[in-house]
């Protein structure tokens, strides 16, 4: 990838601030944990500093009046140790549990979300809307609706980071990651790549444009519409030659893909796998990894011949196939 192929970073204009705006349903929850920690830790540091200051003033060498005898008895000193071991630990563990609960929420995908595919590559973010709309370094989403992102990387590790939403998700090549957010305010927000990814890492930034639902619908309409992801996937299914084996009437014995998405498949050598995005991706790139029971491991690997964006389209296509549908060769 040369510099000429990359895009200029887009920075939505933001005023100077000491605290970031919080414009997702998760942001307020994260901030609440943060402020609690800030309060508790502030208390600890103040306590330590106050004690230090008091001791410095009172027991400085020049202060001859200070009583330096009458030290605490042994039992009191031991008791004190255990107080300052257990008391802060218990309090902080409570905050840890709270932070853990919010963390689990960050990781729990909402069921009714709008699904958008995102691909990180050196050095840009590419987005694919379900209707086939495509964007680079900009993502338009409606306000007040959960958005689920399926993230993939074309090359090295990137990280999808929107500070205003308090979400960050590393995008590790070779696997799919999921993240979600629900924006609570219309506006433009920073999108950063947070994992160092090479020369133009700091240019790999863009913006999330949050629109009112009506404007979002208008925006979708205005986009130069290719066909939907699934339709494009169908075309790819033929051009990559998948249909040669997986299509109806094929002479080669390969699993029928209709209706398999989300269903368990028995595997050669025992066990089953639920067909999801990652399994389909693996089956295209590493077909020998998990072979469906009753089939020969004859499928060639498409690693190195197919990009992450095309794989996502193929997945969209396979997902769209209902059980009874025949795949046309």
């Amino acid at each position: 990838m040369t510099a000429a192929q990359s895009f200029q970073p887009i920075d939505p204009p933001r005023p100077f601030a000491l605290f970031p705006e919080a414009t997702s349903t998760l942001a307020g929850q994260v901030d609440a944990v943060y402020f609690t920690m800030l309060g508790l830790c502030g208390l600890v540091i103040l306590l330590v500093l106050a004690l230090m200051t008091y001791f410095i003033l009172r027991y400085r060498r020049g202060n001859l009046r200070a009583d330096r005898t009458h030290r605490w008895p042994r039992w009191l000193r031991h008791r004190l140790e255990w107080v300052w071991i257990t008391l802060p630990l218990l309090i902080f563990i409570a905050v840890f549990v709270w932070g853990g609960i919010v963390y689990i929420r960050i990781h729990s995908m909402p069921a009714d979300a709008l699904e958008i595919h995102a691909i990180g590559k050196q050095w840009m973010w590419k987005f694919q809307h379900p209707g086939g709309q495509r964007e680079i370094n900009e993502l338009h989403v409606p306000v007040g609706r959960p958005i689920k992102l399926t993230l993939a990387s074309q090359d090295v590790i990137h990280s999808f980071y929107v500070p205003a939403f308090r979400i960050k998700r590393d995008v590790v090549p070779g696997r799919y990651h999921q993240a979600w957010f629900e924006a609570t305010a219309v506006g433009r927000y920073h999108l950063f790549c947070a994992e160092y990814c090479g020369t133009m890492h700091s240019q790999m930034r863009g913006q999330i444009v949050v629109l009112p639902p009506q404007e979002y619908a208008d925006w979708l309409r205005r986009q130069e519409l290719g066909s939907s992801l699934a339709a494009e996937g169908a075309a790819l299914f033929r051009s990559y030659g998948c249909s040669g084996c997986h299509g109806a009437n094929s002479s080669v014995r390969a699993p029928n893909l209709a209706g398999i998405y989300g269903r368990p498949q028995p595997l050669t050598g025992g066990g089953t796998v639920i067909v999801d995005d990652a399994y389909i991706r693996d089956s295209i790139l590493l077909p020998q990894k998990q072979v469906v029971a009753g089939f020969e491991p004859i499928m060639p690997s498409f690693a190195g011949q197919i990009g992450e964006d095309d794989i996502l389209k193929l997945i969209a296509f396979i997902k769209s196939l209902a059980a009874e549908q025949e795949i046309q060769p």
């Binding site: 994260v30 001791f55 563990i93 160092y196």
Partner: protein, 542 residues
């Protein structure tokens, strides 16, 4: 052991270059490390200065983006492996461990020298990396970027770190065996100064963790050179495997970097409070606890990386646990001052600075272990600020405090107390100005390793860079006045601070074999009399 007749100090036992380069005297080897570490510190510092200068403006204009990426990689690699890891163990540790336990040298004097040569060979590879164009992976060498994508001299840099790792292992081995085998008669474990406890714990981590780093880096080199797939998914590898292996070393390495500093601060608090350290056994065992727990928390570097959510929960909880022994130390240092007789010479200023800065660094670590917060601030300036509070505010501060405290012992000379205090105070303010704004920047969302950034972050970046100027100036000061004292400083007596510890019972600088007669120890450390009203006599002039 029979008495060894002493003729002059270790500094007088030979003046030729050969007498230094082939020495097996732990005190001279400490000097070799001190000089080479100082060189690397200023090299790494120069890289940091250029980084801060570049970040004064939001656009990347001072250096190109490739240069910038090489600068922060170089800064990290040098500061971590060529300064922080060996800093206290190889200099003060080398010098003081035998003196403090009443031994004549380290257990393996030749290995000790070999450790320095390995350090230098590793350093030469790092120099070669810089001269041939540098490396741009960051000090973390994350795959598959480092193994398959970077066009810079990754293997050369890896060889440097690989080799210097063996220097760590040898120093660690030497310290462990020395503490076990060479303690003077009567010097039981609970009569050891706390500096020995923490250095011992450090040495154990060095021995156990560093080989993992060596293996991991070897795998990266194999993937890069021979295309054997360990980490690149296109070759069937897993990028997260690298992160697990790397942090399995690098999180314990954080404790390699800070534990010795804690040991120094324990000594300084006792010395300048003229009082035993509060809760000796708690402080001693907290070092061991840190060494143990430090191995169980590596996954907290990967909360957003895609490891299992339940794995993250376990690592988060363990990370809260590892903060307990650090908190024990802070509370005990603070209580050490109670009913003491406090004086505020330069080393004490550093020790007090350490407690404040380390506490902030440690508490912000709890923010990062709170997983919901970490998702937001991971890989931002918040993390940068956090670990600089530990590494610079903590470790470098303790290192300089220790260097000032034992300087009269090491050199036999007194430095200018006035200049020492000025530098210590300047450093404290410069440090906070540099790194405090970075906490705010981090929560605002400023990612680390960014060559250019959105405009609204500029004010805080300018503050941080201004602080760096103060800090740079403050770091140059000790170089001047300590150097000056070597020739013009007044002679120090054997115990200029009037403090306890076997190292102060021998002359300054110590004779070649440390003690004419191996001391017999029948008392604990920090035996200061309880004073009532009258201050102890001035033990130091001026």
């Amino acid at each position: 052991m029979s008495a060894i007749p002493q003729t002059g100090s270790y500094l007088d036992s030979g003046y030729s270059l050969r007498s230094w380069l082939l020495t097996t005297d732990h005190k001279r080897i400490a000097w070799l490390f001190l000089l080479s570490l100082t060189l690397f510190f200023f090299l790494g510092g120069t890289a940091a200065a250029l980084i801060r200068l570049e970040l004064v403006t939001p656009t990347g204009d001072l250096v190109g983006q490739d240069t910038y990426n090489r600068l922060f990689s170089l800064h990290g690699i040098i500061m971590v492996w060529f300064f922080l890891v060996p800093s206290i163990p190889a200099t003060l540790g080398n010098f003081l461990v035998p003196l403090m336990i009443g031994a004549r040298d380290m257990a393996f004097p030749r290995l000790n020298l070999a450790s320095w040569y390995l350090y230098i060979i590793g350093g030469l590879f790092t120099f070669a990396t810089v001269i041939s164009g540098g490396v741009d992976t960051g000090w973390t060498f994350y795959t598959p970027y480092s193994s398959m994508f970077s066009n810079t001299h990754v293997v050369l840099a890896i060889v440097g770190v690989f080799v210097v790792g063996f220097s760590s292992i040898l120093t660690g081995l030497n310290i462990v065996v020395t503490v076990h085998r060479l303690r003077a008669p009567g010097m039981t474990w609970f009569r050891l100064p706390l500096f020995i406890w923490s250095t011992y714990a450090t040495a154990v981590i060095m021995l156990l963790a560093t080989p993992v780093l060596a293996m991991t880096l070897l795998l990266v080199a194999l993937e890069r050179l021979l295309g054997i797939g360990f980490f690149d998914p296109r070759l069937g590898g897993d990028p997260l495997l690298f992160q697990h292996l790397f942090w399995f070393y690098s999180h314990p390495a954080v404790y390699i970097m800070v534990l010795p500093g804690m040991g120094v601060v324990s000594e300084l608090m006792a010395a300048f409070s003229k009082k035993a350290v509060f809760g000796y056994t708690y402080v001693a065992f907290s070092s061991i606890a840190i060494a143990f727990l430090g191995f169980l928390v590596w996954g907290h570097h990967m909360f957003t990386a895609g490891q299992s959510m339940y794995g993250s929960l376990a690592f988060g909880l363990l990370s809260f646990m590892v903060s307990v022994p650090s908190a024990i130390k802070v509370f005990n240092w603070t209580m050490t001052m109670r009913k003491g007789t406090l004086s505020f010479e330069t080393p004490m200023l550093y020790a007090l600075g350490f407690i404040g800065l380390f506490t902030i660094g440690g508490l912000t670590g709890l923010f990062l272990a709170t997983m919901a917060i970490d998702v937001h601030v991971h890989d931002t300036y918040f993390v940068i600020a956090h670990f600089h509070y530990i590494m610079v505010g903590g470790m470098v501060t303790a290192y300089l405090g220790g260097l000032h405290y034992w300087w009269p012992k090491i050199t036999g000379r007194l430095y200018s107390e006035r200049w020492g205090q000025i530098a210590a105070v300047l450093m404290f303010f410069g440090f906070n100005l540099t790194f405090f704004p970075q906490f705010i920047l981090g929560y605002l969302g400023m990612p680390r390793r960014y060559h250019s950034y959105p405009d609204e972050f500029q004010v805080l970046h300018v503050l941080s860079s201004a602080g760096a100027v103060v800090l740079a100036f403050a770091y140059l000061l000790p170089l001047c006045y300590l150097g000056w004292s070597l020739k013009y400083g007044r002679r120090a007596g054997s115990n200029p601070w009037g403090t306890t510890g076997l190292e102060w019972t021998t002359s300054s600088p110590p004779p070649k074999y440390n003690f004419e007669q191996i001391p017999r120890v029948d008392y604990g450390p920090y035996r200061y009399p309880i004073v009532s009203g009258t201050p102890p006599t001035e033990t130091r002039h001026g």
